[in-house]
Symmetry: C2
Subunit: 80 residues, 2 copies
DNA sequence: TCATATTATACCTTTTTGGGTATAATATAT
DNA sequence: ATATATTATACCCAAAAAGGTATAATATGA
């Protein structure tokens, strides 16, 4: 078992969309052009990934990396 | 000159927020703990960056990496 | 159950990032 | 204009990602 973040929202998004389209990891790897290992690390929430590779996959789903505010449990915005 | 994407939205976000707080790249580098070189590559829109490093900077601004739909000029959603 | 498909883990290699530093270019202020 | 501060570019090095492949584990279906 690795110590990656399974409920990483990006990871979840990818896996969910992939399953909705009934694609295997292999298929997604082929069609997006990233390695199979990368698809797995991505879906399993490996913390350190290359943004261009992620975007390469997200593009297939019509998405891209962006930023969003972090809110705590009360909905308050954090940070400077 | 490099061929990076200057109007990368994440890059723009970082630089804009940094300037609003009147911080130098050096200051931001120090306070976030990432290297100065990284801050520069980030703001200049280098496409291949490690997500954890970006998040390390975004956290300071109360943000984090996420995904968003790509829309064309008409506002239509793209992709599968 | 049993065979197959899909996903997960482990090992090795190549490639590239990120850090640091030094230097050059640009912006800012007096 | 000129001194200073800030940002940009170029170099090398260590550390780590991504790819490939092989094997194990798990899920799926007949």
């Amino acid at each position: 078992m690795n110590d990656w973040n399974r409920d990483n929202s990006i990871a979840q998004f990818i896996r969910q969309r992939r399953k909705e389209l009934r694609l295997t990891q292999v298929k997604l790897s082929d069609t997006t052009g990233v390695g199979l290992r990368f698809v797995r690390e991505l879906e399993q929430g490996k913390p350190n990934l290359m943004t261009n590779k992620i975007n390469q996959v997200l593009l297939f789903f019509g998405h891209e990396l962006s930023t969003k505010p972090i809110s705590d449990s009360t909905g308050r915005n954090m940070g400077k």
